[in-house]
């Protein structure tokens, strides 16, 4: 059985493996790791059902791995190998799988999530969109909040507020607060630390139920981005002193064993996927629905 800890560690080691592959020149293009933010999707995973639609962003590996037990498919996607989720066409930030879609333009997914929520309204399912604090610079966010509140849509917006957008700290980009912006639209807002998986679930379970009946909600998590924006582009100092669940949980019973298991699992996935042939693109085949 996969525990929350296993899932957290899988994401952590997966992201480290990507940075390692990049350093060795074995990955094409770019990637954005979610190091430090793993708790958010892992905590949310059991609160989201198979009929819910999840919209992820550029920093979405954790979102994917918390929803699908498929590190090999994701790595194959990022490496352009056989068995890739989207044949290697989308890559790190453009993934589509049943009930899950990520795309790489800031704020773009929110209107789409509103459309999905409109489709789902009354069914008990919801649309969940992950965005960052930097996304709040985009006008589409506000058009979407307005519609979600106006139309009473089952929209859950999860904000991973890591205090930095690429290299720009929030205080140079945001006037006022996310809470006040939500209040202006009559959208419920709750702020949470991203420290404790079960605490997050306890707080969110009733709130997410309310979303399902048409009360949109913005959940703002305070998280630390422990890695660079993409790779080797961190301009901050003092990152190593930021709080890290990995360090804090390391003396929990069974941590070392779980950590070793996750490390080994990712290691074997990397070896196995690297050995696969290149992916092929059946570009005209009509395929999977979202």
């Amino acid at each position: 059985m996969t525990t929350d800890l296993d899932r957290l560690l899988l994401i952590r080691h997966f992201e480290h493996a990507l940075l390692d592959l990049f350093a060795k020149g074995e990955l094409n293009g770019t990637t954005h790791t979610c190091l430090g933010q793993e708790i958010v999707p892992v905590a949310l995973a059991p609160l989201l059902g198979p009929d819910d639609r999840v919209f992820s962003n550029h920093r979405g590996h954790g979102h994917y791995l918390a929803r699908f037990d498929d590190p090999a498919g994701l790595l194959a996607e990022i490496m352009g190998r056989e068995g890739a989720v989207c044949d290697g066409v989308g890559g790190s930030q453009h993934i589509l799988r049943e009930g899950y879609l990520s795309t790489g333009v800031q704020g773009e997914s929110l209107p789409v999530a509103v459309g999905a929520a409109l489709h789902l309204r009354g069914s008990g399912a919801l649309a969940c969109a992950y965005i960052g604090d930097g996304t709040w610079g985009e006008g589409a966010v506000y058009e979407s909040l307005n519609l979600a509140a106006l139309w009473g849509l089952p929209l859950l917006v999860v904000v991973e507020h890591n205090g930095i957008a690429q290299t720009t700290p929030t205080e140079l980009a945001m006037s006022g607060t996310i809470a006040a912006r939500c209040a202006a639209f009559g959208v419920a807002h709750t702020a949470l630390p991203a420290d404790d998986v079960s605490e997050i679930r306890t707080v969110l379970t009733p709130l997410v139920s309310a979303v399902r009946t048409g009360s949109p909600l913005v959940v703002e998590f305070a998280v630390n981005r422990l890695g660079p924006h993409s790779k080797g582009d961190d301009t901050r100092s003092g990152v190593s002193e930021l709080r890290d669940w990995y360090r804090e949980m390391s003396d929990v019973a069974g941590f070392a064993e779980a950590d070793a298991r996750a490390r080994d699992l990712v290691g074997s996935v990397v070896r196995e996927v690297k050995a696969r042939p290149l992916s092929t693109w059946g570009r005209h085949a009509v395929g999977r629905d979202a």
Binding site: H94, P111, V112, A116
Partner: protein, 325 residues
């Protein structure tokens, strides 16, 4: 029947045929029924399928894409096509890419309707023909309304294609009659391509989107009666991707070819069509394909100034003469 009534009827049929088909837009509800009355009666007949929206072009286009992604049919009305720039990201980077960038093709029935063009004195930000900005976007189809193409067939084709599309509707067409062609000419329709002609091989082939139909016909009439110059007009319903083969077949037999459109100069649809024809008919064409379009200018408001900028019957007439020199 007027074009606006035909389009209105087509929309009624789409909503009636599928309870999961939606129409979204600003001011589309009855009794107003949309700025150009295209949606008149729809919200009364289909109250749960017609959704009035705030002034949020980006979001409502994204909402349409979200509905389409979930398997619904979504028709989004942008009140003036000029405002589609506000939805450019949703169309180009979301809808068009979603059908293509996830490895296999994702079917999406999204139609973005765009009342378009000048000639009504609405000024620089309410009169443009922005088709050219959507030509060559992978995964996106570009259609233009025409008085020769029944909109019921056009919408059915868009929906069957399951690809997101933009539908440019020249505003001057709304009040014109469907299928009304000058007595001098006969017309036919094959696979979405309308052809207006006389019973003689043409000197010049004019290729034009639907909004230019009447201006092209007026130029053709004058050329025939005053100078005995015979023209054939070809009006494709889908501008991009363009089915070039039937255009090439007709153009091959003519002395010259003119592509006429209302877009302002530079990077036009016509330049793309000309390129295709040059590639296919190099060594066969007697003259380079000639382009007729509006001036390289913003579109002024005052009638006399607007007429000096926009493509007119005279622009086409003169371009045809020039192309035959």
């Amino acid at each position: 029947m007027r074009v606006v009534e035909n389009l209105n009827q087509a929309l009624h049929e789409v909503l009636a045929a599928n309870p999961r088909a939606f129409l979204l837009g600003e001011d589309v509800l009855d009794p107003y029924g949309g700025a150009f009355k295209v949606t008149r009666g729809l919200s009364t007949s289909f109250p749960s399928q017609v959704i009035t929206t705030p002034i949020s072009e980006s979001a409502i286009t994204g909402v349409g894409a979200g509905l389409a992604l979930c398997g619904d049919t979504a028709i989004v009305e942008i009140m003036f096509s000029d405002f589609v720039t506000l939805a450019f990201d949703q169309i180009v980077n979301f809808a068009a890419k979603s059908v293509s960038m996830y490895g296999t093709r994702v079917p999406m029935r999204l139609i973005v309707r765009l009342p378009t063009g000048g000639g009504r004195g609405y000024g620089p930000t309410h009169s443009q023909s922005l088709q050219k900005h959507f030509i060559g976007v992978p995964g996106l189809d570009v259609y233009e309304m025409s008085p020769l193409h029944d909109n019921r067939d056009v919408l059915a084709r868009m929906i069957a294609a399951e690809r997101p599309c933009v539908f440019f509707e020249d505003k001057v067409l709304y009040t014109k009659r469907m299928h009304e062609v000058d007595d001098l000419f006969t017309w036919d329709l094959t696979d979405g391509l309308a052809r207006v002609h006389v019973d003689t091989p043409p000197d010049c082939v004019i290729i034009a989107p639907g909004g230019v139909t009447h201006r092209a016909l007026a130029a053709m009439r004058r050329l025939l009666l005053e100078q005995e110059i015979v023209c054939t007009l070809l009006v494709p319903s889908r501008l991009h991707p363009l089915d070039a083969a039937p255009l090439v077949a007709v153009a091959r037999e003519a002395k010259s070819v003119v592509v006429a459109e209302e877009s302002t100069a530079g990077g036009t649809w016509g330049a793309e069509v000309a390129h295709v024809l040059h590639r296919e008919l190099w060594g066969v064409l007697r003259n380079p394909v000639a382009l007729a379009h509006s001036a390289d200018s913003i579109i002024p408001t005052a009638g006399h100034l607007e007429r000096a900028v926009l493509l007119t019957e005279t622009t086409i007439h003169d371009t045809v003469l020039e192309s035959l020199k």
